[in-house]
């Protein structure tokens, strides 16, 4: 009798370690919500279990300082943190929930750092690229850098939005779990190496975002935004899925490297592949808001609660571009002659449309929405460069954009809390005099988004422009330069309103909260620090060029 025992494939937990931490945080938060007043009896045991797992990892390796034992130590930190937060903040469930979410994101960020240093580090050479889970998850530059951007954004957006949610009365227990789930989906999107994983990750992040967008239940604009985002997003997902299906038919593979191999086959049906590629451009173009698929952006950005908008702008863009980079550079590489011109033209249109449309906006969130559209165009320059410099340039650009846009929305939140309504440019009049901190942070963010030197935004523009010129796309870079000047005009309008206008009498100063102070100041510090000395993370982005092919 033959041995019928099935051998389960080993699961490489290390490749999704940060997502595990996030998932544990999500589970803990959901269970705590169900447990209500007895939340402590749910959260503490989870913390103990996590700590126990960490100790087990440590014991298993004998604490020899190997990779696994470092992961064990990080797990213990997470577990102990969970227990102590639960006990220490037992009297204040709101802050407890936010803190646990922050702990989850922080641990995930630490574990990402651990992945970089212990799994992918290659002694200063390009990061090692490996696959796990039967080839469906990639551990390489794109996935690691996207994780950094996404988890950093999550970590910053949580404290910034805490008091704001409270003010608007929309701080319900499902908020943080949904935010973390969305972030997990984004991180997975950056790591997805086959079409199924990619699609599932995309849906995880999107569905959570649809709900988050509509979380201001009494606000019609929020409801409208949510409905719009959901309907258009579902259509885009369907189109994307159709494209995936066609490319599977054409190449017989779901894994991205397999698709590339299938295309290299001379017998591959080129016409079918072209249709598939067009559908994919449409679907993914919607997610990252490339013109002409950007129509949802201003409405959704305007209607969503501002901290959700900030998260959407910062992290979703990074995740969407991660998927785009992987799809086009890995899977569709053989068809580069086809998609490079298409995407280059779309990038030019996106930059131009975003810049010009933003010129006439008076609502600050809408203005930032159009600026987000324009920035999608800049990031695309790196993609269509199809070079190592372009790849690392895009990854770095997304991080710079995430940090700058978070700082910008943080300032909007501070003003909006005082206003209790949408912020128009006029509301910023004289903020420089009444509250220099908010004005300073928003100005830094604007200068950074405009790409003025000595801010992080300049280094981002520099890397993608440099990659674009290196790839012979000088015309596209010139478009980028011209639109940058146009964009500088409306960024300056905000700075001008704050510093050059006088505040109307009797208007209260923007509202601060301790969380906001921490989050917004950190974003501002990152803008300046990486503006002055980008080498640490820029070097990492530079090493992130090795892909699973």
């Amino acid at each position: 009798m033959t041995d019928l025992a099935l051998t389960a494939p080993p699961i490489a937990w290390s490749s999704v370690a940060p997502e595990l931490a996030m998932t544990v945080a999500v589970m803990a938060l959901l269970l705590m919500t169900i447990a209500g007043r007895r939340r402590m009896w749910v959260a503490a045991p989870i913390g103990v279990i996590v700590t126990g797992m960490g100790i087990a990892l440590l014991v298993a390796t004998g604490g020899d300082g190997s990779n696994t034992s470092v992961a064990g130590i990080l797990t213990i930190i997470g577990g102990v943190g969970l227990v102590s937060l639960t006990i220490g903040l037992a009297g204040n469930p709101r802050i407890l929930h936010s803190s646990i979410a922050g702990l989850g994101a922080g641990t995930a960020l630490l574990l990402t750092g651990w992945q970089v240093l212990s799994v992918a580090w290659n002694g200063g050479g390009p990061l090692l690229a490996t696959v796990a889970m039967e080839g469906s998850v990639a551990l390489d530059g794109i996935s690691l850098f996207t994780r950094i951007t996404v988890y950093l954004s999550t970590l910053l957006v949580l404290p910034i939005g805490h008091a704001y949610l409270h003010d608007r009365g929309i701080h319900r227990p499902e908020f943080e779990p949904l935010l973390l789930l969305s972030a997990t989906g984004m991180a997975l999107l950056g790591a997805a190496n086959d079409l199924i994983t990619l699609f599932v990750a995309l849906e995880v992040l999107s569905i959570a975002l649809y709900v988050l967008t509509g979380s201001a239940r009494r606000d019609r604009r929020s409801q409208e935004a949510s409905a719009k985002y959901f309907v258009l997003g579902a259509v885009a997902s369907a189109i994307l899925l159709y494209g995936f299906a066609l490319s599977y038919v054409a190449t017989g593979s779901l894994e991205l490297p397999g698709i590339a191999a299938g295309m290299a086959n001379p017998a591959a049906p080129l016409r079918l592949l072209t249709v598939a590629m067009v559908l994919v451009v449409v679907g993914i173009g919607f997610k990252v808001a490339l013109v002409p698929f950007q129509l949802w952006t201003p409405d959704v950005y305007e209607g969503a609660p501002t901290n959700v908008t900030a998260f959407m702008g910062a992290a979703t863009k990074a995740a969407g571009f991660a998927a785009m980079l992987r799809l086009f550079i890995v899977a569709w590489a053989p068809l580069a002659d086809l998609w490079v011109p298409v995407l280059a033209v779309l990038a030019a249109l996106t930059m131009a449309y975003g810049a010009w449309a933003a010129l006439v906006q008076t609502d600050v969130k809408r203005l930032l929405a159009y600026s987000a559209v324009a920035h999608a165009g800049y990031a695309t320059i790196g993609l269509v460069s199809r070079s190592d410099a372009g790849l690392s340039g895009t990854l770095w650009y997304l991080l710079t954009y995430a940090v700058s846009t978070l700082a910008a929305f943080a300032a909007v939140i501070a003003v909006e809390r005082r206003n209790a309504r949408a912020v128009v440019i006029h509301d910023l009049d004289g903020v420089g005099k009444t509250s220099p901190v908010v004005a300073g942070i928003l100005s830094l963010a604007m200068l950074s988004l405009a790409g003025i030197p000595l801010t992080i935004g300049f280094t981002g523009k520099l890397t993608v422009f440099s990659a674009g010129i290196g790839a012979g796309l000088t015309w596209l870079v010139v478009v980028g330069v011209v639109t940058s000047v146009v964009a500088a005009f409306y960024y300056l309008r905000l700075i001008g309103a704050m510093f050059l206008h006088d505040p109307p009498a009797g208007r209260p100063a923007p509202a601060y909260s301790p969380g906001w102070n921490v989050g917004a100041t950190s974003a501002a510090v990152l803008i300046v620090f990486f503006g002055l000395q980008p080498r640490f993370l820029l070097d990492l982005a530079d090493l992130a060029t090795q892909l699973v092919r």
Partner: protein, 509 residues
């Protein structure tokens, strides 16, 4: 204590970096670290004086024949091959000295500025640090970054502390210069990529530029040229300047005219000429065929000279008059630079210093008068020489310097420029010399309307003369104006070897 001793021992090796770092630290101190306005004032004055001392120390160690020296290099962005490299040659040094010399005077002139003095002084010190960085950068990316960064403090200075129409002027200034700067960025990146340079180091890029074809050189020259021409400013991209000057506060006008415009002239010499010698020869001497048989640079310079002078003639506002005279005078500088011979080009550099001194002094004097009268309408003044003799006397000296009276500094710059240009392209020198005539016309006419004739009107009769502090600000300027006018040789000795080095590269020797 060892640490301090060690630090002091390293000072002589890091003078250039100190010239950049001291104002920067001063800006942080005055703007952020102190709550007291007085501490901020003294801090700013201390920082600007220290920077001046550091630049003087640099001068003592300087060897004009040795090319770029006192180089300081710190790694910055290894991924892009960019280093924080600073160093000076003769051209850089005189401009650094001009900046550090004027800065303490600017701080003192801004002393009683009421509105948020801490931020005001911090913006100026940050600007000083950036400008010194621009003049000394030996790495093109560092140069570009600082060149663009100067926009931000200047935008704030005009926008926050400026006159009634300040928003328009500030935004116009920002967008004009940003457009020029970003065009240059494309060229910088193209040069880096196309030339296959390993880094943004100046020498590397000069080598990389050797491989460019003539057509590439022309395009890149054009892009760099636009960036610098906006700064100088050269006709037809000068229109931001009169607005910026009229709206800027006194100290802002002084810094803008005396120092920031020089970044354009410096850029021409350091980058346009050395990176693209073939395109430079074509465009400035008209040695090519067809479109390139016209010496376009000289044409633009002459248009700037004459246009600025003619428009200055009809200005009712004395500050605007001086602003347009800047367009005219900077036209002389550009004329000298692109005449491409040792006499004219060296004189172009010297004239940048002279223009900085005389126009800076003019803007200071106009500021003093504005503080008293809150107007700059020439028609509202008259016969002031009787009422404010010291002021009128100083004004006359500065006006004479500005219109290039022999014996004062303007002459020793302008005359060799015309002389050198005459050797290269005679008609340009002839046309340019009309600018000198017009300068005498509009400056003396303005002087006559303001200071001579009968003293009429209660306002004019109530105008008070300069205070000792104001005289104190003017004395160093007047001393230098006369000293350079009488004995310009030391200045030429500093500048000429470096200029000759540049020209040797341009002429392919």
């Amino acid at each position: 204590m060892d640490f301090i001793g060690e630090f002091i021992r390293t000072i002589p090796d890091n003078l250039v970096a100190l010239c950049v770092a001291i104002p920067l630290l001063g800006a942080v101190f005055s703007g952020l670290l102190t709550e007291s306005d007085d501490t901020a004032r003294w801090g700013a004055l201390g920082a600007s004086l220290l920077a001046f001392v550091a630049s003087l120390a640099l001068l003592l160690d300087f060897d004009p024949a040795a090319g770029v020296q006192a180089v300081d290099t710190l790694p910055w962005i290894p991924a892009l091959g960019a280093n924080l490299a600073f160093g000076v040659d003769g051209i850089s040094l005189v401009l650094v000295l001009l900046t550090t010399f004027l800065m303490p005077l600017i701080v003192v002139a801004a002393w009683d500025h009421a509105d948020n003095i801490r931020g005001y002084l911090a913006a100026f010190l940050a600007l000083e640090a950036a400008v010194i960085g621009v003049f000394t950068a030996q790495d093109l990316l560092v140069f570009y970054v600082l060149f663009e960064f100067t926009l931000v403090p200047m935008y704030l200075i005009i926008g926050i502390w400026g006159g009634a129409n300040r928003r328009y002027a500030a935004v116009k200034f920002f967008l004009y210069t940003l457009l020029g700067g970003l065009t240059m960025l494309v060229a910088v990146l193209y040069l880096y990529q196309a030339g296959g340079a390993q880094s943004f180091a100046y020498d590397d890029l000069v080598n990389a530029a050797q491989g460019l074809s003539l057509v590439q050189q022309r395009w890149l020259f054009g892009a760099f040229f636009l960036g610098f021409a906006v700064k100088v400013p050269l006709f037809p991209v000068h229109t931001w300047l009169p607005d910026a000057h009229t709206e800027a506060p006194t100290a802002g006008s002084v810094f803008l005219a005396a120092v920031m415009l020089k970044m354009g002239g410096y850029g021409f010499i350091r980058y346009c000429l050395t990176f693209f010698p073939d395109a430079t020869r074509e465009l400035s001497l008209g040695t090519g065929t067809g479109f390139f048989s016209v010496p376009w640079m000289l044409v633009l310079a002459v248009i700037g000279i004459l246009y600025g002078a003619i428009v200055a003639l009809v200005q009712p506002d004395i500050k605007k008059l001086v602003a347009y005279s800047s367009v005219s005078h900077m036209g002389f500088v550009v004329l000298g630079i692109f005449a491409l011979n040792s006499t004219a080009t060296s004189a172009g550099v010297v004239q940048m210093v002279n223009h900085g001194l005389s126009t800076g002094a003019l803007f200071l004097l106009i500021g003093f008068l504005y503080d008293r009268r809150h107007t700059r309408e020439i028609a509202l003044f008259g016969g002031l020489a009787k009422q404010v003799p010291i002021y009128a006397g100083l004004f006359l000296v500065v006006v004479m310097s500005s219109l290039a009276l022999p014996g004062l500094n303007g002459f020793v710059g302008e005359f060799p420029i015309l002389l050198g240009t005459f050797q290269a392209v005679p008609w340009a020198a002839v046309l340019g010399s009309f600018g000198a005539v017009l300068a005498a016309l509009y400056l003396l006419w303005a002087y006559q309307r303001m200071f001579q004739g009968p003293l009429e009107g209660a306002d004019n009769e109530a105008t008070t003369d300069l205070t000792p502090r104001e005289i104190g600000i003017m004395v160093p300027l007047i001393v230098l104006i006369v000293a350079i006018g009488v004995y310009p040789q030391p200045l030429y000795d500093l500048v000429q070897p470096s200029v000759d080095g540049v020209l040797a590269a341009v002429n392919g020797q």
